[in-house]
């Protein structure tokens, strides 16, 4: 059996997390989710990387999280020696030019705007697969 893909998901809406799982399952990926539901959880998860928690293969980051500023979280991720080159998928319902502008400073791999159509949402699975080496 191949090693499972480690995906860090920073997302406070369980309904969206459910859809992410469905999308990955539909891609028939062998995956392992590491979930953080708010800013603090995201930062402490990041701290454990290399200290018991292995480095992730993909990061799925929501922008508007309670407890932490979006740019700050992105900065901390990129400063971490084991995360600095990990592909990031921005995972948000925001389409604001401002958000698109600042996230582009962090070498993001994909800006996934959460759609309101189920089938559109499921395309996330294929996007994540394409980012795995």
């Amino acid at each position: 059996m191949t090693e499972s893909v480690r995906i860090f998901v920073v997302e406070d809406n369980p309904a969206d997390v459910f859809l992410v799982r469905q999308a990955l399952q539909q891609e028939q990926l062998n995956f392992q989710l590491f979930l953080a539901e708010d800013g603090d959880a995201a930062l402490s998860l990041l701290e454990q990387v290399g200290k018991g928690v292995p480095a992730p293969d993909v990061l799925l980051l929501d922008l508007n999280l309670p407890g932490v500023d979006g740019p700050e979280l992105f900065q901390r991720v990129r400063q971490h020696p084991l995360c600095k080159d990990v592909p990031i998928v921005v995972f948000t319902s925001s389409d604001s030019p401002k958000d698109r502008a600042w996230t582009s400073d962090f070498q993001i791999s994909h800006y996934f705007r959460k759609p309101s159509d189920y089938d559109e949402f499921m395309k996330l699975g294929g996007i994540i697969r394409s980012l795995i080496r």
Binding site: N13, A15, N64, S93, S94, S116, Y118, F121
Partner: protein, 623 residues
């Protein structure tokens, strides 16, 4: 022939002999019976003899007598143009000739001289100035007085007096434009007259010329020291005297004009200062002395005597900037404008002052004086600050509103997305077991979600128009804007079989993409509100309405009642809620965009069923 005249008189010193025949030359130290004499006689003799081709010489022994010898050739051959008198015409200028004529005429009695002086000089004088100047002449010597009066009266009105006192009385009775006075006179001499005239306010600026029969540097200096404007030493030529008199008259005239202009601008400045509640100051940087100032105390609370006095009143935060401006002005000249706060020394109240100053340089180019004006601008400053504060509040409120609109619409979209996706998922989960009712209900939920999404999207668009942060407005080619709109609407245009007529459009001031949105809204309205039985026909054209372009989008659709022409541009306004889809935002968004670039929007229709024309105006791009 030789004519010899010998006398046994006082004789002439040998060193005076070479000057004997010069005009107005008087032998110094003459011990004659009287002092009378003009120094003209011998000069005249010499001129006459010369004209006859002869010579005149003199020999003398001081105390024993003199001998004058005139030699004249016989015949007329040496007199080339005796009959035509041409030699005289070649002589010199008119004034010069007149002067000689006058010299000669002096020997005639006064009454016979009427013919003498009506020629060129009179008309010359008249053309130079409208009114004749008035010259006061004082000389105790009758011959001299008469002679000078004749010379002057060609150009000027002359009052002649025989001593200083008479002249003083005449000057006070009717102040002349210039005084010409002999120095040596009985009763009141020339210096006395000068002193008295300078003492009186009415006559102290009169140009005064002293005449003296005696040469000598000392008396000249004495005369100028006493305040004479000029000093003529006999012998002088008539031309020289006339030139000096005219020069001093015109100097006086210029002084008067300059003085008048100065007084006029002083009055003007005074009025301007009063009207603007400003006052002027003047500062001598070398002595650090405030030379003159208006009522400084009304602004500062106390009088100012030095720059330091002023600095002490200025708010410490404003002082360095103000000081450096003044220092630079002192060094480099130019002007400055400075605004600063002061604390009044009497009440302690703070006021705002605005100061304008300029450096005045001396002949060497060094700044020797600084002049300035100060205005109390406290009221204006308070108003400005208030305006600034209000403006910031407004900007903040606008930003907050935009932020609110953004966050609100974002947060509204989130649950909507959940409802949409999970309704889909529900339907799929129930699958074929679902009753037709369930499928229909789910369909209603989906539709509601879609509609809500459109509303939120349009609200977002509308709220973003407020904020022109993305792109500065520039020239926008309306043809490209229209192309953009048409490509978005391509499918609907094909579906409806619309007939589109487009005319060339201008380049206007605005944002091309936003104006494309305007076209998109207007065209989509025209398509949406078409008649069911006729294919839509849409015509787009532009008219140059002077300072702006007017773009018209004309359709053959259902039109509207003219009373709704304004109403339809409001937010969420929909005339036909049930029959036609839409959020009622399209026209409101268009209006907002057009107005942002200084234009207007309006709509015209002759009534329901009669088509509509939607218009918007924008300024041309070259403005």
């Amino acid at each position: 022939v030789e004519l010899s005249v010998e006398d046994t008189g006082v004789g002439i010193p040998e060193h005076e002999l070479p000057h004997l025949f010069e005009l107005f030359y008087l032998v110094e130290g003459t011990r004659g019976r009287t002092n009378e004499g003009t120094g003209i006689g011998l000069a005249l003799v010499q001129e006459l003899v010369k004209l006859h081709g002869g010579t005149v010489t003199a020999t003398s022994q001081l105390g024993a007598g003199s001998q004058f010898r005139v030699c004249l050739p016989f015949g007329t051959s040496h007199l080339p143009v005796l009959r035509s008198n041409q030699a005289r015409q070649l002589n010199s200028t008119a004034v010069h000739a007149d002067a000689y004529v006058q010299e000669a005429l002096r020997w005639l009695p006064d009454s016979e001289s009427a013919f003498s002086f009506t020629g060129t000089s009179d008309s010359l004088a008249a053309s130079q100035s409208g009114a004749r100047s008035h010259v006061l002449l004082a000389d105790d010597n009758a011959d001299m007085r008469d002679y000078i009066r004749r010379l002057l009266s060609a150009r000027y009105d002359v009052t002649a007096c025989s001593n200083g006192e008479e002249a003083l009385a005449a000057a006070f009775a009717n102040p002349p434009d210039l005084v010409l006075t002999d120095v040596m006179m009985p009763v009141l001499d020339g210096f006395g007259l000068l002193r008295e005239l300078r003492r009186s306010d009415r006559t102290k600026t009169l140009p005064i010329l002293l005449l003296s029969a005696r040469a000598g540097e000392e008396s000249r200096v004495e005369g100028l020291d006493a305040g004479a404007d000029d000093y003529l030493v006999k012998p002088f030529t008539a031309r020289e005297m006339l030139a000096r008199v005219e020069a001093h008259l015109s100097l006086a005239r210029m002084r008067r004009q300059a003085d008048q202009a100065r007084r006029l601008s002083e009055v003007r400045l005074g009025l301007a200062l009063e009207a603007t509640r400003m006052f002027a100051w003047e500062w001598d940087p070398d002595k650090d002395e405030v030379v003159s100032a208006g009522d400084m105390a009304t602004v500062f609370g106390s009088a100012l005597h030095s720059a330091g006095d002023g600095f002490r009143h200025i708010h410490p935060d404003d002082l360095p900037a103000h000081r450096s401006k003044l220092e630079r002005l002192k060094r480099e000249g130019g002007t400055y404008r400075s605004e600063f706060r002061i604390r009044r020394s009497d009440t302690g109240a703070t006021s705002w002052l605005e100061e304008h100053a300029a450096g005045i340089s001396d002949e060497s180019g060094r700044i020797s004086r600084i002049v300035g004006v100060i205005a109390d601008v406290t009221e204006r400053k308070i108003a400005e600050e208030e305006l600034h504060r209000k403006n910031e509040e407004l900007t903040k409120a606008n930003r907050e509103l935009e932020e609110f609109a953004y966050v609100a619409s974002h947060d509204l979209q989130e649950p909507l997305r959940m409802i949409g996706i999970y309704t889909q998922l529900l339907l799929r989960t129930i699958g074929s077991q679902a009753s037709p009712n369930v499928v229909e209900y789910a369909g209603f939920v989906r539709k509601g979600v879609q509609r809500m999404e459109e509303l939120i999207k349009d609200l977002l668009v509308y709220s973003r128009i407020v904020h022109p942060e993305q792109e500065a407005p520039c020239a926008a080619d309306l043809n490209q804007s229209l192309d953009e709109a048409l490509s978005v609407l391509r499918v609907r245009l094909e579906e409806t079989g619309a007939n589109l007529v487009r005319h060339p459009l201008p380049v206007v001031w605005g944002d091309q993409r936003q104006i494309a949105l305007v076209f998109q809204n207007l065209l989509s309205n025209a398509l949406k509100y078409g008649k069911t039985d006729v294919a839509p026909r849409i015509e787009i054209q532009a008219e140059n309405g002077g300072p702006e372009w007017v773009v018209k989008v004309k359709d053959n659709g259902i039109g509207f009642h003219p009373r709704h022409a304004q109403w339809i541009f409001g937010l969420f306004r929909r005339l036909h809620k049930d029959a036609y889809p839409g959020t009622g935002m399209g026209l409101a968004i268009s209006k907002r965009i057009v107005e942002r670039y200084g234009g207007r929007v309006w709509a015209e229709s002759e009534g329901e069923g009669k088509g509509a024309i939607f218009c918007f105006s924008l300024p041309p791009a070259n403005q």
